[in-house]
C-alpha cells in the first residue's frame, strides 16, 4: 500500500513536474529575439492564419501573447538573481534596441548678446584655467569664489588714490562698485532671457525726484482718450500748469536793424569756426606750383638743348641741320 502509494506519489509528482515543464516550455520554429534591457521580445514566426480564423481571435492572440511572455520570463530567469528583502531581483543588461525619443529635441539656448557680438566680430571662446598661481600665498588658488587668488576683499589696507576724496571710505566704495557690477550682470542676464523669449523688459526706474514724479503724473493724467478732460481730481489739487515750451518767432515786421545785426553776427561766428587753412586747397596749390615749375624747367631745358645742338653743328652743313631742327620744333 505504502509502496504503491509512494509510487503513486512519485508518479503524481512526475506528472506535476511535466505539467509545469509543459506550462513553461514553449516551442517555436524560430527562436525569439530578446532585448532583456527593454523587457522586449520579438517573435519572427509567421502567425498561423488558419488557426487564427478557426479559433476565436481573441483567444488565439491571448495564447500567443502568453507563450511569448513565458519565453521572455524564461529568458529573464537565466539572469543571475539575488534576494533582496524577500524579493528576487535580477539586474537587467543594457538595452540594445534603439528607441526613438519620446519628446522632440530641446531647442538650443538662444545666444546672449555677447555671444552674438563675439560671433559677429569673430572672437573665439577662451577657456581659462580654474586655478591660478597666487604669489602672496605661494600656492595655486581658484580664479574666483571663496579663497580666490588676489582677493581684494581681504585687503586690510587700501591706499587712497591721489584724485580721490581723502574722507571717502575706500572699502565702502569697493563694495558699492562690486554690488553695482553684480546688479548690472543680473540685469543683463534677465535681458538675455527676455530677448530669448521675445519679451521687452522695462528697466526699473531709479529713485525719482519730486519733479520727475510730478511730470510722470501729469503725463499719465492727460494720457486718456479725452486728454484728461474728465479725469478726477484730488481734493486740494492745484491746477496743472501747461508744460512744454511753445515755439516763439520774431515778429514779421520788427526791428530790421536788429535782425540784420543778428545775421551779421551769425556770419561772423560761422566764419570763425572755419579752419584758417584748407589743407586740400593748400596741397592743390603746391602741386600746381610744382607743375608750373617743372613745365618751365622743361621749356628752358629744351631751349638750352636746341642752342647746344646749334652750337655743336655749327661746323656742319647748314642744309642738313636746318630741316631736322625744324622737324624737332614741330613736335
Amino acid at each position: 500500500m505504502a509502496a504503491c502509494s509512494i509510487e503513486d506519489v512519485l508518479a503524481k509528482v512526475e506528472k506535476d513536474e511535466a505539467e509545469i515543464l509543459k506550462n513553461i516550455t514553449v516551442h517555436k520554429e524560430l527562436e525569439l529575439e530578446f532585448d532583456i534591457g527593454n523587457l522586449a521580445a520579438f517573435d519572427k514566426n509567421p502567425a498561423d492564419v488558419g488557426l487564427f480564423r478557426k479559433h476565436k481571435k481573441e483567444e488565439f492572440l491571448r495564447s500567443l501573447a502568453r507563450d511569448n511572455t513565458q519565453l521572455l520570463i524564461n529568458e529573464m530567469w537565466k539572469l543571475p538573481t539575488e534576494r533582496v528583502q524577500e524579493a528576487v531581483v535580477a539586474k537587467l543588461p543594457e538595452p540594445h534596441t534603439r528607441l526613438p525619443r519620446e519628446k522632440p529635441l530641446p531647442k538650443p539656448r538662444p545666444p546672449t548678446k555677447w555671444e552674438e557680438f563675439a560671433k559677429l566680430k569673430g572672437i573665439p571662446k577662451k577657456k581659462k584655467t580654474n586655478l591660478v598661481w597666487d604669489d602672496v600665498h605661494k600656492e595655486w588658488r581658484r580664479r574666483w569664489g571663496y579663497k580666490r587668488a588676489k582677493d581684494d576683499t581681504k585687503d586690510w589696507l587700501i591706499e587712497v588714490p591721489e584724485s580721490a576724496d581723502p574722507n571717502e571710505d575706500q572699502f565702502a566704495r569697493r563694495l558699492k562698485a562690486k554690488n553695482e557690477r553684480v546688479a548690472k550682470n543680473e540685469l543683463n542676464r534677465l535681458k538675455n532671457i527676455a530677448r530669448g523669449q521675445k519679451v521687452s523688459v522695462q528697466v526699473p526706474p531709479k529713485d525719482q525726484s519730486k519733479a520727475e514724479l510730478g511730470k510722470a503724473m501729469q503725463l499719465a493724467r492727460i494720457s486718456t482718450a479725452s486728454v484728461g478732460k474728465f479725469q478726477d481730481k484730488l481734493p486740494k489739487e492745484k491746477p496743472t500748469r501747461t508744460v512744454g515750451k511753445k515755439r516763439s518767432f520774431q515778429p514779421l515786421i520788427g526791428d530790421f536793424n536788429m535782425e540784420k545785426q543778428r545775421q551779421l553776427d551769425l556770419l561772423k561766428v560761422m566764419e570763425n569756426k572755419k579752419p584758417r587753412m584748407n589743407v586740400t586747397r593748400a596741397v592743390n596749390r603746391q602741386m600746381r606750383e610744382e607743375d608750373a615749375e617743372a613745365a618751365r624747367h622743361k621749356k628752358e631745358g629744351r631751349r638750352g638743348g636746341k642752342g647746344g645742338k646749334k652750337k655743336g653743328r655749327g661746323g656742319g652743313g647748314k642744309g642738313r641741320g636746318g630741316p631736322k631742327s625744324k622737324k624737332h620744333h614741330g613736335k
Partner: protein
Amino acid sequence: MRPLTDEETKALFEKVSKYIGENIKLLVDRPDGVYCFRLHKDRVYYLSEKLLKLSTNISRDKLISVGTCFGKFTKTMKFRLHVTALDYLAPYAKYKVWVKPGAEQSFLYGNHVLKSGLGRITENTSQYQGVVVYSMADVPLGFGVAAKSTQDCRKLDPMAIVVFHQADIGEYLRSEDTLT
C-alpha cells in the same frame, strides 16, 4: 510768413556760402535798402522791406510767392537751393564753370557737366565746391557742385563728370508748377 529762426538762418547761410562765400554779407547788408529773408510755407524768400510790408495785406493761405525764392527747407530741416536763387548767386559767385555751346543744352536738360563739355573753370576750385555754371557767352545757366578739383580735371577722360548738376534755368520750364 515769419522771420527765420537762428537754426534756419544758419542752415540757409551755410548752403548759400558754399557758392558765394563771404559775399553773403552783401546780401544781408545792402546799401540800397533793407532786405530780409522770410519763411513762408517752408520756402525762404528774399525780399525788400517795402515789398514785405505790402505783402502783409495778403492772407497766408492766398499768398503764393513774394520776392525771390531762395529755396526750401526739407522735412528734415535741410536747406535746398532753387534755381530762382541764381539771380543772386551768379553776380557774387566765387567759383565758376563755363560750358561749351554744345554741352549747354545737355546741362539745361538736367544732366551733369562732362569733361568734354567743360569750357573753362576757375583756378583752385576744390572738390565738392559749389560752382555757378555759365555759358561761354557769360550767361548764368545754373549751379552745381564740382566733382573734381581743377587740378584733377586736367587729367580726366572726356566722359567723366566734372560738375554735378543741382539746378539749371531749364527748370523754369520743367518744374513750372512747383517753382515759386
